[in-house]
Amino acid sequence: MLSRAKPLVMRLLGTVLLLPLASIVCAEEGSFWDGLNMPRGVTSVSRQVYDLHMAVFWICVVIGVVVFGVMFYSMYAHRKSKGAKASNFHESTAVEIAWTVVPTLILLVMAFPATTALLDLYDTSEADMDIKITAYQWKWQYEYMGEGVSFMSELSTPESAIYNSTPKSEFYLQEVSEPLVLPVGKKIRFLITAKDVLHAWWVPAFAVKRDAIPGFINETWTRIDEPGVYRGECAELCGKGHAFMPIVVNAVPEPEYNAWLAEKKTAMAAERELASKQFGLDDLMVKGEEAYNRSCAACHMGNGEGIAGVFPALKGSPVALGAIEQHLDVVINGTAGTAMQAFGGQLSEVDLAAIITYERNAWGNNTGDVVQPVDVLKFKQGREK
């Protein structure tokens, strides 16, 4: 019975060893095994990282083959059932020194390229442009420093697809309301921070992953070599929406980028214009429902009932039914020490007005109050004094 078990041991252990080997060989041929290995990426840093990854991997494979080779040989040749008699050796200073020194040398060999890559990765100097990335529960804000352009980027996969009542699209959970548009060939410095909890901005194709820490600004950089759409995700646990705040980067040639930027500036000016308009209740309710579902429903839920013990209900709540002034204050400035963010800097005046109007009139909160964008603007200005 014992002897039957052994070839099986070896075969299985062999599989464990060979699987990564096979997969990597295939991955370099660019076949359907692509999803098994780290992407090579489209930046100099990502390629350095990939090469390091592969180098260390192959070193490990070689060590593994030698070490496990000796082990499997013993398991095959030194079995009691084959009449092996045990030796009694149990020390050899020479051997023990050798296998302390050799691994140390191998580690030194690894440390050199790793150091070079790290120096490169940390060199954020002489950037052509700065993008400030601010993480919120559960979306990203991108600000083009010095351009006056900023916007929120959040998951655009509908809840119905997540809960399986509608089909999932090709980029399920990897699609956003508005992608980050970047020019190729430019050194872009990212300034990364967060407004609530920790997040991490990760785009595998750039080998950029950096924690977003509330109250601190982290720096990192990239230079994208090829135009394309690159997808990433939040990599630091940030609450229940952790899996639902993807990153999409649209890398385009510089002229296209400049055109996009000019268009974006015009659009933002038009949006600011809207803030001085007056809207009717129905209009605000429609806008409000849409904006509420985008920005508020993750916590307060689509039906306004919140989650008991964590996120308060808005349906019948004292804030939604009480003084407008207080409602504006909570939405615009947030509530310190809780998960309620300050939305004043995240959303336009129109959206804020629509959301507040919606919250005061939906789910049976029939106050009949209408809050106009100008009211929001006035409140903000009054606060700033």
Partner: protein, 517 residues
């Protein structure tokens, strides 16, 4: 003079006998293992397919958190304390642990700690949902109210660990039989002695971390809140100053177990005994100076990043020495492959694979890609499960016949090994692919390109989970109906004081110290 145990429940409540307390620890840790395993099954069931099917994301986060906490603090740490309680006095020729009443206390506060922790799942707002590493401010400002119960539970189990470790240190240093010099101690005793020092050093750090959380949440301090002059990254430094030695706290006793099992079934003395001892001490020392390799993406200064990378790489040296010594022990031995040996060999192979991925993770620039992805999940399950849990399972098969004088069913044991081994690899090997392809850890739902390997991983997890029920069956069957064994040495090649005792071992052993030559 020897007398038997008290009857009924009071035997277990009031016991100061190291064997009884060892048994309590072992059963408790197995119960926690099943509970944590159940949480894992919920996680893998939800991840079987893209989309949310079974639980909501907020509950999913509670499952990942509780799975980690229960497995680390409830299953793996106590199982080795249980083994230490049973084995250390018998291995060094002592009649019992040095501090038997404290031993009782350190066990009996554990069930309360975990009852408290598990009860949070039923509270309004749910249980801890911030990951087993509970990074601030998700675990402070943004935590559910139940976080205070969690903090109290961590304090209690920390106290339990500290008492357990003091007991082990006192026992090993004071109660060795005449002639049992330090450098004659079995390696399991050595690894536990070093582990106990690690525990005494770092459990207070953990207590400090959760106390600072408690202050931030309830008393208006701002240790981890930048708005009040604090720093969320401080939390991570404090946590990992505890957390990294904790990893070795878990794995060193497993190394000890392997160093007992492999020589027995190789019928050959352990190769390089003294280098094993020095390697263990070196690993323990290094474990204190590498903590920030868990934080390569927080934006440390370049110098810090380089230092932690170099220091981390160094750990490969003593760890490699251990693996080489085990393999050289097997070399030109006379090998047989009973269940404990199968588990020991699996530990050497799979732990080494986990070591290789550890080496890859140590390379800071590459870690930028691996960090917080499923690659890390695969890595630490290769170390924690295939390292620590497999070693503990092997240890139970190895010593159970000695403890209760009954043999487990060898065929069933081997079957259980193969199911565990295959299930484990189907579960965790594909997670390397998922991580490299870009799937972050702690995701309740994922993009479609990750669907295939997640399904494979879930199937493996159900197989591995089922194999643990078979393990329970095998152990219960052995205790109740196993073939009686009475020779002192269960295994032909076994060496050491515990194998000089009658089988099953009497309730009190070495009431007169043995002579060690």
């Amino acid at each position: 003079m020897a007398h038997g145990p008290a009857q009924g429940i009071t035997r277990w409540l009031y016991t100061t006998n190291h064997k009884d307390i060892g048994t309590l620890y072992l059963w408790f840790s197995f119960a926690m293992f099943l509970l944590g395993g159940f949480f894992a099954m919920v996680i893998r069931a939800e991840l079987f397919e893209p989309g949310m099917q079974i639980v909501k994301p907020e509950f999913f986060n509670q499952m990942t958190t509780m799975h980690g906490l229960v497995m680390v603090f409830g299953a793996i740490m106590p199982v080795f304390v249980g083994l230490a309680n049973w084995q250390i006095p018998m291995m060094i020729g002592a009649p019992d642990m040095a501090l038997p009443r404290m031993n009782n206390l350190s066990f009996w506060i554990l069930p309360f700690a975990f009852a408290l922790m598990a009860s949070t799942l039923f509270m309004e707002g749910g249980g801890p949902n911030f990951g087993w590493t509970f990074y601030a401010p998700l675990s402070t400002t943004y935590a559910p109210d139940s976080v205070n119960y969690f903090i109290f539970a961590v304090h209690i189990l920390g106290a339990s660990s500290i008492m357990g470790s003091i007991n082990i240190i006192a026992t090993v240093l004071n109660m060795r039989a005449p002639g049992m010099t330090m450098m004659k101690m079995p390696l399991f005793v050595w690894t536990w002695l070093i582990t106990a020092f690690l525990l005494v050093a770092v459990m207070p750090v953990l207590a400090g971390a959760v106390t600072m959380m408690l202050m931030d949440i309830n008393f208006g301090t701002s240790f981890f809140d930048a708005a009040g002059g604090g720093d969320p990254v401080l939390f991570q430094h404090v946590f990992w100053f505890f957390g990294h030695p904790e990893v070795y706290i878990i794995i060193l006793p497993a190394f000890g177990v392997i160093s007992q099992i492999i020589p027995t079934f190789s019928r050959k003395p352990l190769f390089g005994y003294s280098s094993m001892v020095y390697a263990t001490a070196a690993i323990a020392f290094l474990s204190f100076i590498v903590w920030a390799h868990h934080m390569f993406t927080v934006g440390m200064p370049l110098a810090g990043e380089l230092y932690f990378m170099y220091a981390t790489l160094l750990i490969a040296v003593p760890t490699g020495v251990k693996v080489f010594n085990w393999i050289t022990t097997m070399f030109r031995g006379s090998l047989t492959f009973e269940t404990p040996m199968l588990f020991a060999i699996a530990v050497v192979v799979l732990f080494t694979l986990g070591g290789f991925t550890g080496l890859m993770l140590a390379i800071a620039p590459a870690d930028i890609q691996y960090h917080d992805s499923y690659f890390v999940v695969a890595h630490f399950h290769y170390v924690m499960v295939a390292g620590a849990v497999f070693a503990a399972t092997g240890a139970v098969y190895y010593w159970l016949p000695k403890w209760c004088g009954r043999m487990y069913d060898e065929t069933l044991g081997k079957t259980q090994f193969w199911i565990s081994f295959i299930g484990f690899n189907i579960t965790f090997f594909p997670q390397h692919f998922l991580g490299l392809a870009g799937m972050p850890r702690r995701y309740a739902d994922y993009a479609l390109q990750f669907a295939d390997w997640n399904m494979v991983s879930s199937i493996g997890a159900f197989i591995y989970g089922a194999s643990q029920l078979l393990f329970l069956f095998i152990v219960v069957q052995a205790i109740r109906n196993g073939r009686p064994v009475s020779e002192p040495k269960t295994w032909e090649g076994a060496e050491g004081l515990e194998w000089t005792l009658p089988t099953p071992v009497p309730y009190h052993t070495f009431t007169t110290p043995p002579e060690v030559r």
